[in-house]
Symmetry: C2
Subunit: 304 residues, 2 copies
């Protein structure tokens, strides 16, 4: 760590810190030019997220599901560094960098329906900071504890400002019972600095069960008490857009219905990564893009 | 095991078994005499459960909560056999036999608003087969996997027929996010015989994490696919009545909101326990009443 400015200090202090956001949520004033209804953009700015039901057709979802099934049973994929597997069963839980290694999922990263929205909200050229497919099995899907993605991307990856967003393409129906994404509306305007130092190679287990970089109980009680909890539910093909600093998590899933999605993180080209804001070396490139990062060439396609 | 008839065999066969219920759900035809609306009784018969919102007043709930807080922090209570504690933290998860050891909770076992409904549905005198208070903490409440209570009460306790019901008094608000009880409406008419032998002293860990006596994935997919999942949500003071054979479970709870309840199981006096329907000795009395079992003297009271 150097003397450079750290707008969002975390894991450096003995007590939790509560800071106001220093960055815009919406980097764009001309709502009339939005690729989706201006009301939806306004809602995103206010709440820190947005669900668009059935943005992809059933046929498109079927094509994505088929691709996912192919990947999850490919021994080479399972053995790769990009594969994060369940602690006990060894089943695939997440596969990273799908925007590089897979034809269909690479095309999707450039798809106007998602990347176009990201470009509009973030106010200009974007690139993929991270991508993955996530599988939450039926019967035994585990919970994912509350966190702000930005907290980790800032501390461990060196993302300087809040100018990134995530886009989750639901490949299965999500209802309130099968462990849907829970979000805290309005939490994106507050940064909770966490307690505890970043351990070595934290990413290897934090992707399965995070313990550092999660807010303390008192801060969580306070922010959830103030803003409440909403869930992102919808049929397969729906897409959730959420700000990099929106607090989110999910409960376990004992229902027979699996939950899977594709996950793309778009970062503005001016917000490229620096050195991490902690004493550890940066995480590997498949988790956080550190290369030259060319702007995405966004195009409209159909995938069925 | 002897040659006596076993209407609901479980944990005896190599493959799961799917049987129809051999017993009534409602042991009473005169709906006009019901202590609650006849439509509610009909709903219970059809679905296998029933939620009555705010059956207890806020003041009554406060009195019960105070009693719960007293018990959970009493070192003698924590050290007792009746206390089931979290595997890792040691925090109290359940306390059994509250209808014997606690003044207020003993009175509640005889309360007309709950025991009167049980007596009506089960068609006559009832006694308490089991009672407990359950605590599902905020932030770290674990899931409880799908099961039919009757399966365990039959196999491990020797309850011969389906003529018992559970009554859960919610002491905290339950919404869809803090791990509410999930029930499969209609499942009470089907008995799923489970695979796997009952291990020695199974109760000591099954109360924390059940592995034997839970239905297999295929049976669960089939029955949930057919009937769906409902959740028992409601404000504190609401009461859930559910049949001994209704399939239920709950997901984890990462929200700050804890979930606690009081739990009473009423069994008809003619359905008293026999020898277990497995090769193990019966579970201890604090989990399953095996004594002379006098009928409850049901009275109407207020508890605030």
């Amino acid at each position: 760590m150097s003397s450079r400015e750290d707008l969002y200090p975390s894991r450096q202090q003995a007590e939790p810190l509560w800071l106001e956001r220093q960055d815009p949520v919406l980097y764009q004033q001309d709502l009339a030019a939005a690729p989706i209804a201006p009301e939806l953009i306004a809602q995103y700015e206010r709440d820190g997220y947005l669900v668009i039901p059935e943005l992809f057709s059933a046929a498109e979802v079927a094509a994505m599901q088929a691709e996912l099934e192919r990947l999850r049973s490919d021994p080479e994929v399972l053995a790769s560094d990009e594969a994060i597997r369940e602690l006990h069963s060894g089943a695939l839980r997440s596969l990273f960098e799908i925007h590089r290694h897979d034809g269909l999922f690479a095309q999707l990263a450039c798809e106007e329906r998602i990347a176009g929205v990201a470009r509009f909200i973030l106010g200009g050229d974007v690139y993929v900071h991270q991508s993955r497919m996530n599988l939450k099995p039926g019967f035994a899907g585990r919970e994912f504890y509350w966190h702000s993605d930005f907290e980790t991307w800032h501390v461990e990856d060196g993302m300087p400002r809040m100018r990134a967003l995530s886009c989750s393409v639901l490949l299965t129906d999500n209802d309130s019972n099968n462990g849907p994404l829970m979000l805290v509306p309005g939490s994106h305007r507050h940064f909770i600095g966490c307690v505890g130092e970043t351990p070595e190679n934290h990413y290897q287990y934090s992707l399965r069960r995070q313990q550092v970089g999660v807010p303390d109980d008192a801060s969580l009680s306070r922010i959830i008490g103030r803003f409440g909890i909403d869930t992102a539910t919808g049929p397969a093909g729906s897409v959730v857009f959420f700000d990099c600093n929106t607090l989110h998590g999910s409960n376990s899933n004992i229902t027979p219905a699996p939950r899977s999605n594709l996950f793309y993180v778009f970062n503005h080209i001016d917000n490229r990564l620096q050195a991490p804001f902690c004493a550890q070396p940066p995480r590997p490139a498949f988790v956080a893009e550190r290369g030259p990062a060319e702007p995405l060439n966004i195009v409209a396609r159909e995938y069925a």
